[in-house]
């Protein structure tokens, strides 16, 4: 059935120009479209996939979570489109004032994100941090303004080493480094998560080990038509740094607790990563 898919794509694209000026109309409309799309297709994710990760959910509850994930994905697609068109301004307008925990963050600090919730809105949160911010990511959706700098991790080993070295010096000079813990290419640290295996990037944990800087999980959550940044308690931050595997396991335990409390926050990419066995186990 390709016609409903095309129809939904067209309707979503129609909302994109509106999100910058009328977010309170465009965001709920995208949610409704995303939920309906998931409900009609029973895919991306299916209720069965949700139940594999959250077996405590009854079939009806798993279906409702799947609809909400469909809605989340549609809101995120809308936001990405708006950021591509207008830069970070649409995300700034959606971002709620910083929480006390967020406002209390001080460098040197590693902020590790997961692909949950409104991950693309985090750019509007990290520019509020009190200090220079270096964001490491694959490609860039927008051009940041100081004190935020985005460094792409695309390229060969040496390019990635250069980005890693820059992050290391940035922390030593007393800055914030922001980077994703999951959703990266290549081998990493395998940790148990929601009864499956999740592969996390080694870089953030190696940075913590080498610098002794604490690592704080950072996520963004949609609140109706707004976005709220949430931070966890700091992990690691010990003299000489914490062992990478132990730190990765701590970060994943935090993620598990977060998702068990709000399974509808899991991104489709993370669902796929968890349901696809890591290469050696295939």
């Amino acid at each position: 059935m390709s016609w409903p898919r095309r129809t939904f794509d067209i309707l979503e694209r129609g909302l994109a120009p509106l999100v910058a000026r009328y977010p309170r109309m465009a965001v709920p409309a995208a949610s409704g479209l995303g939920a309906l799309r998931n409900r009609l297709s029973s895919r991306w994710p299916s209720p069965e996939q949700v139940q594999i990760l959250f077996p405590h959910l009854a079939p009806g509850a798993a279906a409702r979570v799947a609809w909400k994930i469909g809605a989340l994905e549609a809101r995120n697609r809308l936001l990405v489109d708006a950021i591509r068109r207008h830069g970070l301004e649409p995300a700034r307008r959606l971002m709620r004032p910083a929480s006390e925990a967020f406002a209390a963050l001080r460098p040197p600090l590693i902020l590790g994100t997961f692909h949950v919730g409104a991950v693309q809105a985090l750019g509007a949160a990290v520019e509020r941090l009190p200090g220079p911010v270096l964001v490491l990511r694959l490609g860039a959706l927008y051009s940041p303004s100081p004190p935020v700098e985005i460094l792409s991790t695309e390229g060969d080993d040496q390019s990635r080493a250069l980005a890693f070295q820059r992050a290391l010096y940035h922390l030593k000079e007393g800055g914030f480094v922001v980077l994703a813990l999951d959703g990266f290419p290549g081998p990493g640290l395998r940790v148990p998560c929601l009864g499956r295996t999740l592969e996390l990037a080694r870089g953030p944990f190696a940075l913590a080990r080498l610098t002794g800087a604490p690592l704080v999980p950072l996520v963004a959550r949609w609140r109706q038509s707004e976005v709220e940044a949430e931070v966890a308690a700091a992990l690691g931050g010990t003299e000489g740094g914490m062992e990478e595997g132990a730190l990765a396991a701590s970060a994943t335990r935090w993620l598990e607790g977060y998702l068990m409390a709000a399974p509808e926050e899991i991104g489709l990419g993370l669902v796929r990563a968890l349901l696809t066995p890591p290469p050696a186990a295939r």
């Binding site: 060969d156 080993d157 040496q158 990635r160 080493a161 250069l162 980005a163 890693f164 070295q165 290391l168 010096y169 080694r202 870089g203 190696a206 080498l210």
Partner: protein, 84 residues
């Protein structure tokens, strides 16, 4: 004061401690440290440069920019930075 040969030996010792593929034999100067050479991943490469910074007391900030990092470039950097 260290001789050029002593500096080269110290760099090769550091390299061998990080790169199992290095073995104990001679290493060509144009051998890359990363893929297609000694196979160091990005993190191991930076850790090796940190080892060099600690051992020779000179920053290795520019070594990853531009040309591929090779055994020869690493040795030349240490030689240029350490009084002989």
């Amino acid at each position: 004061m260290a001789t050029g040969a002593q500096i080269e030996d110290a760099v090769l010792d550091l390299l061998r401690s990080r790169a199992p593929l290095a073995g104990n034999g001679a290493l060509p100067a144009d051998l890359r440290l990363g893929a297609g050479g000694l196979g160091l991943d990005s993190i191991a490469m930076v850790e090796l440069l940190l080892d060099c910074e600690r051992r020779f007391g000179v920053p290795a900030a520019g070594l990853l920019e531009g040309a591929p990092l090779t055994v020869g470039r690493l040795i030349a950097h240490a030689r240029a930075a350490v009084p002989q």
